[in-house]
């Protein structure tokens, strides 16, 4: 870590380069503990996919779909907006979007942290299997859909359908919940969990103002079929 700070970041202009070539360059740089700045990402897809640990990558603009997908330890920053599936399937590391992100942010996340400072589209944290997704603004329709583990932390409001068909993931919302999805229930989070959530967001640089945290988990009615609860199933 000390050495890295002494070295200047490598600057690469993405403009006309094939994505595959860029990702190979990024993998080589990070495996040599070399930080990288990518100029002109121009909202293209699959930037910074399957990167190893070893350094940071900053995209100097907006990126397209799947940025930071399958990340294996890199620290990735997007200076502007991101498209769909940001950090999809990440195992470890960090993807931080300074602007807004599209649908399915942190989809199937297994570990690490995805941070969106602005808003996300529909289905943030869909099928999340671990890790933490933090959204500074609002999350869209059906966020947390079928999440199996991990935390989705929302500092703003959540659109309708929140936590639909959850397994064991947990959703924490500071703002207004416009509507719950099937089988989602709101709990008051225990003090110890609030402390944990607030230490996560404080470490990420979000201000610690008083927040009315709500926790959304599975009501567990969809976990086992019970014909007396057929009404719940018929809504599916």
């Amino acid at each position: 870590m000390e050495l890295k700070k002494l070295r200047e970041a490598l600057r690469i202009d993405a403009d006309a380069k094939p994505i595959r070539e860029l990702n190979i360059l990024l993998r080589q740089a990070l495996s040599q503990q070399q930080d990288v700045v990518i100029e002109n990402p121009r909202s293209r897809h699959n930037l910074g996919v399957a990167l190893p640990a070893g350094g940071s990558v900053r995209f100097e603009g907006s990126v397209g779909y799947y940025c930071g997908g399958l990340n294996n330890g890199a620290v990735i920053e997007v200076a502007h907006n991101a498209g769909w599936g940001t950090g999809e399937g990440m195992a470890r590391g960090m993807v931080r979007v300074r602007g807004h992100a599209g649908q399915s942010t942190g989809a199937s996340l297994r570990g690490g942290t995805v941070v969106v400072e602005g808003n996300t589209g529909a289905r943030a944290g869909v099928a999340q299997k671990g890790g933490v997704v933090v959204v500074g603004g609002q999350v869209g329709f059906l966020s947390g859909f079928m999440a199996q583990a991990g935390k989705l932390i929302v500092l703003g409001d959540a659109a309708d359908g929140l936590g639909d068909s959850l397994y064991q993931g947990s959703i924490y919302v500071a703002g207004h919940i416009h509507g719950l999805g099937l089988d989602a229930v709101i709990l008051e989070p225990p003090a110890a969990e609030i402390d944990e959530i607030e230490s996560i967001i404080a470490e990420l640089g979000f201000s610690l103002t008083p927040r009315a945290w709500k926790k959304v988990v599975a009501g567990q009615k969809l976990w086992y079929f019970d014909k007396r609860e057929a009404d719940t199933w018929l809504k599916v």
Partner: protein
């Protein structure tokens, strides 16, 4: 998949150039066919028909047949027909300028009955040009880049429903309503039932593609007295399936999204234009700098006039 896009300029400009660049950037979403709905100046004194005619070697004779059918439908050619410059092709893409009092439904049905004729559009302003292949291929053959106008739609197709051929490519014209066109990303699952209901009202369809239904459905709702926005809202509950579609009329472009928010759409604007597409990188072919964009939620309807 499929990629869709549209552009609306404040003043007439290079919509062909823009839409070709936008569809080229979406090529990875499908290159089975590519098509454009282009709106030039609205001229009430004439209609433009766009046709694909098989048998290029016998084109003169076929054009005579087409003119005869046109006369039966109460129309006359205003100027001699023109067609694309690809003389090696087996078919010809023909453009006709026609007197405006023609019976559009009769002419369309009559031309199709000749065999080997597709009618892609009718309009005072609208011209639909579509062909198999990617945006660059279609643009070259049909000189799309030269087209000037106020607004238009583009579509690149990855076929999930119906055949891969010109007739099943987008955009679809709302036969027989002039100047209405649609591009669609998704699938309509109650297509057969909805189509049968419209056929019972006397409508005829030019393909087996589910997306053609949307254009006729919307135009019919407007004929029933709904506004453009109301018709789009009606479609969200009347049509079942996965869809984000763009529909254009001479006044502008509308968008509707299904209730589950499955298919993408993103838009941005500048003082000179509004541009919308499936993906942001398509918008950046028109506005290359970093842009602020708007995306849309479930069951949303937007009109860009």
């Amino acid at each position: 998949m499929c990629g869709i896009g549209g552009i609306r300029l404040a003043e007439s400009g290079e919509i062909g150039q823009h839409l070709v660049a936008m569809m080229t950037a979406l090529r990875h979403r499908g290159a089975d066919s590519t098509g454009f709905a282009l709106y030039g100046p609205y001229r009430p004194e004439r209609l433009v028909a766009r046709l694909r005619v098989e048998g290029r070697a016998q084109l003169a004779g076929r054009l005579d047949q087409i003119a005869a059918v046109l006369r039966q439908a109460g129309g006359e050619l205003i100027s001699p027909p023109t067609w694309d410059g690809d003389d090696t092709a087996a078919d010809a893409f023909v453009r006709l300028e026609i007197t405006p009092d023609v019976d559009i439904a009769q002419a369309t049905t009559g031309w199709i009955a000749l065999g080997g004729v597709e009618v892609h559009s009718f309009g005072h302003s609208l011209e639909i040009i579509k062909d198999v292949g990617d945006a660059q291929t279609v643009a070259r053959r049909h000189s799309i880049r030269d087209f000037q106008g106020t607004h238009g739609l583009g579509h690149c197709r990855l076929a999930t429903e119906s055949d891969v051929d010109v007739a099943h490519g987008h955009p679809f014209w709302a036969r027989p309503f002039p100047d209405v066109a649609i591009v669609h990303n998704g699938q309509i699952t109650n297509y057969y039932k909805s189509r049968r209901l419209l056929e019972q009202e006397g409508y005829r369809f030019s393909s087996e593609n589910d997306s053609e239904l949307i254009s006729v459905f919307i135009a019919d709702r407007m004929k029933q007295g709904e506004t453009f926005a109301e018709a789009l809202r009606t479609s969200i509950t009347a049509l079942d399936g996965v869809f984000t579609y763009l529909i254009s009329i001479p006044e502008g472009i509308g968008m509707a999204k299904d209730r589950l928010d499955i298919k993408p759409m993103i838009a941005t604007h500048s003082p000179q234009l509004v541009v919308m597409a499936t993906e942001e990188q398509s918008l950046r072919q028109v506005l290359p700098e970093e842009i602020e964009t708007v995306s849309y939620g479930p069951a949303e309807v937007i009109i860009w006039n």
